[in-house]
Symmetry: D2
Subunit: 163 residues, 4 copies
């Protein structure tokens, strides 16, 4: 038995994201920008709705809560060395911060994958902001998770709107 | 027993790419552009060398030869319907043209993955050119394979140069 | 625009599988065996229902139709060499027949992945039968696709039944 | 710059595995059993050598050190709720413990993937032992990581021995 209420878990996850300075609206803006060129009827409401749908999935919630927990442990310097230093410095070749989001984007097909790669490299909107906060806060996993949620939500819209 | 000479297979693969209008130099340019911002010592020679190293791997060769074979079958209208029409039109939601390259990029870690997503979306250099040739030629798999080879070769350099 | 009716595509896909000697019931049996140990209420009806739900997804349909088309081209010896020989012989190190199913199993989370690996190695039921038909028929992609559909359908049940 | 000595990181990683009760020999036994049926010349020496080669890769080391760190944090009850309870209980649908190993097995091609799925489900040797220790010790990530190292090492041998 899985002893957690999914609706509750979703609310906790949204709360955690806000606590780290990430509003659903910030993620929805990334989704909007990704899908606008392909879908005329694109709106911010649709983008937000899609982000919410992604955040309802168990594996998505698990990936986000795990990634944020690692960031928090690293921030509090509680991780054993040498992984504490590697994660805290967000080494370019760490790589695991891009593996964890696969638990999110894989669920939404290959469009999710290319959107994720693009967001991860272009660093726009909230992802850029998170990058700027790196001096005060460990966001090694957080920025990649946000990119993955946006990429998944955009892929979801692409699949829904081409019937 | 695997009854094929790997060196020979590599040469055949390079020949196939050339036949489709893709020179190793075209792929190396994508690699150079991807790595230049991160690695001062980056040169076109290094980029070409890395492309060659990627093309020596069995699974890479298999992915390329399979993808090009599907494109050719589609061009000759030999595939059974409805997959013939779907592949020939390179439907935005086909998706399998982005699954096959996973056989290439996965081998080079997560940097390969994000580089692939970026190239697939930005469509620069030879990838843009291939896009322009779509009217005369089926390149449904070819452009994604080229992006994957470049992404893999760039990832290889990233891992080699940060010791 | 995606000019294909999804319901029609699903029927064509089921027809193609039958044509190759794979009944939905055969796949449902694999699903039943995978989930029975974890879920008391498991029935063949539930297994068949889940297989049908998997076969309704666009990327699943695309993966199946593409893989079966490659098998058919190889059977008719229409592929260019050397990939014709490699696919026809179902070389142990070909690997691309296990990449294509990622388009199916990734959509259903990590349980799908481990179930796929297990089925692919254990070769039970219809997968074993397909293996036996290899002398008369190219089933290089078909057996892996069947394993992927079953793994996905089993994962779907696991997620649905642990609320 | 990546400020860590790879040789040192490898030694630390091997030390961590031993600390958790996993000897290289235990992993090598899984590799031997996986490859013996396909490769007559298989020996325990070859298996150990291959495990060592896998443990030399940066992304492999990062995945192992990250997974073991999460297990340790969970064991010490330092993670924030509700992810503390989810990881501590090793919920069947947690899933992220199977995502992290993708950072290891993807590097070795598709044979690695199917071997991983098989080991993860069959739970033989050291993996079974780790399962038995779950009452006293959090091994949520550890058992999947061990399966991934063995799967990767087996895949490496398969590719090396079929020239």
């Amino acid at each position: 038995m899985y002893p957690h209420n999914m609706e509750e878990l979703k609310e906790i996850t949204i709360g955690k994201l806000k606590e780290k300075g990430v509003q659903l609206k910030d993620i929805a803006e990334l989704v909007y920008d990704l899908q606008k060129p392909y879908f005329q009827g694109m709106t911010m409401e649709l983008a937000e709705e899609s982000v919410m749908a992604v955040l309802r999935k168990r594996e998505v919630i698990h990936a986000i809560l795990t990634g944020i927990a690692i960031d928090e442990m690293a921030q509090k310097k509680l991780l054993p060395e040498p992984i504490q230093s590697i994660i805290e410095a967000d080494e370019g070749l760490y790589g695991i911060d891009e593996v964890l989001p696969l638990g999110i984007i894989n669920l939404y097909g290959t469009i999710g994958l290319t959107n994720f790669g693009y967001l991860d490299k272009e660093k726009k909107g909230i992802i850029k902001e998170l990058d700027g906060r790196k001096k005060h806060m460990v966001t090694t996993f957080l920025d990649d998770l946000v990119a993955a949620i946006a990429a998944a939500a955009a892929s979801r819209i692409a699949h829904a709107n081409i019937k």
